[in-house]
Symmetry: C2
Subunit: 282 residues, 2 copies
DNA sequence: AGCGGGCGATACCCGGCGGGTATCGATCCG
DNA sequence: CGGATCGATACCCGCCGGGTATCGCCCGCT
């Protein structure tokens, strides 16, 4: 099976429409139809149920969609990491670290400084991603290593080392009635009529329904808190980047947050191993 | 990047010889040379250092070897799993479970029976593999789920659930001087001049040096014990398949063994989820 | 030093396949 | 019932992946 065929199939399976898929791929519709038929013949499996009015995935088709996406990510990763390894020989970045924008604001600079001080450390590029994008970036090779936060991020399929565990605090505008309390309970947090909790994107990029604002990363979030539009429970290390008119109130019964360093399991390069070692020693 | 190019590159990188690699691939040498050059030009990276006497990998080349193997495994997995999903629609096996030959002899039949009794369970094919082959089988799609044994097997990059934890026992011929002891210590086990411990294959399939016999799976192992050629420390559940002239002596200070059920993280099908759920309930 | 052999690169040719356009046939809608 | 939509089919072309022949280089043998 060639990656071209996989790309074609994934496009059709996502669009469920040969014409649109062909346009997206930049080819005409007939070669696309033919390619899918050839793929089906070679696999000996019908992947798509098509009548001239609609296209639907078979059970085998959804298997190939899932597995094919993973395979294409792996191929993309091979491409990108090889290119970067080539550039690195001429002074480019050696490692790409991804973290949620606005998270781990205390840990990250310490880690980067400590690693830079190590003997034969390589340049580390920092990539700030939206919530929930990190796993994809690691899998398709745009990043080599990530800082993730349990229990929010999924670490399935990744190797990890735990770094720090923190209590959480609620971040509020200083003018809010609850701002003076010594501590809060989750029950207090969950239904504030005046300050609805923000909504994070789900795994597929869409947002759940609800009253709160849609949020992509922590920087947006803090700005919305400053504007008095929302309130949010965050790990206590976020204190260092609160704006002057915000306060943080401990929430002892909120789940603790563990920051972990994570990387794809097979890609244990020398530079990555050194970075992980540095991180666990902090 | 096409899988054909990846296969070609991996062949050359493994052989470090264009002629041999071409023979292995079933093509002539010149097209292979040309394909590698094209790949290098498209990536903008030199992958192989070649003079007319020897071929060597560059740093970027070894990155592509590692990542390319993973990508090819993922493509193979997509192919195989799709084919099987197609067959399953016509009554073929729905899941392939792999375990080390001779291990988990008590747990496995219980698991298979319990799962078969579940509503809408699918046919489970059991694949018995040699030591250390399971991870590969899961990654390239020849298996969907594995029974692994910590701390011996690596579970990096896999999702797992713990099933049972056991003490270990030493398996000896009944005639051996130590066979009558109530228990043994690891120190007793490690240097028995008359019964050298067996040697397991390393990750790359080769064996370490040493006096003991080379062993591929547990069936071989027990036969060698019965013949008085070796002795071995195994989880106590192996008692159920001891031959009459063998005894098992507890070794309390040997590491405990945890049996886990493991599967590739992205492939959480309905049938797989049901099997995992059944396993954790046993 | 000279020569032969091994090995990758180059030159050149052919056939198949991936891409295109034109058109058909089925199905749904007004 | 006619037109629109959409996938399938028919057919053609050019490129690229495959082949053979040969070159050029370097090493080792005598």
């Amino acid at each position: 099976m060639e990656t071209r065929e996989l790309r074609y199939f994934v496009a059709v399976a996502e669009e469920l429409h040969f014409g649109r898929a062909a346009r997206r791929l930049g080819i005409a519709q007939p070669p696309l139809s033919r390619a899918i038929r050839q793929l089906e013949r070679r696999l000996g499996v019908t992947l798509l149920e098509r009548d001239s009015r609609r296209v639907a995935l078979t059970a085998a088709g959804s298997v190939l969609l899932r597995e094919g996406r993973a395979a294409l990510d792996a191929v993309d990763a091979a491409d990108r990491r090889t290119r970067r390894a080539g550039e690195a020989a001429h002074g480019g970045a050696g490692l790409v670290l991804v973290t949620k924008a606005g998270a781990s604001s205390e840990l990250l600079p310490k880690l980067l400084d400590a690693y830079a001080a190590e003997p034969d450390s390589v340049r580390v590029e920092v990539l700030l991603s939206g919530i929930g994008e990190q796993e994809r970036l690691l899998r398709d090779g745009r990043a080599d290593v990530a800082l993730l936060h349990l229990p929010f991020d999924s670490i399935t399929g990744l190797d990890t080392e735990e770094l720090v565990t923190e209590q959480q605090v609620m971040v509020l505008p200083a003018t809010h009635p609850l701002a003076g309390r010594a501590q809060l309970r989750m029950a207090d947090v969950e239904a504030l009529p005046d300050l609805p909790l923000p909504r994070w994107p789900l795994h597929d990029g869409t947002y759940p329904d609800g009253p709160g604002p849609e949020v992509r990363d922590h920087s947006q979030l803090l700005q919305l808190v400053a504007l008095g539009r929302t309130a949010v429970v965050l790990p206590e290390s976020c204190r260092s980047l609160l704006w002057p008119d915000m306060v943080a109130v401990p929430v002892p019964d909120a789940p603790t947050v563990t920051t972990v360093i994570a990387w794809p399991p097979h890609s244990r390069s020398r530079a990555l191993a050194a970075l992980v070692r540095t991180a666990t020693r902090l």
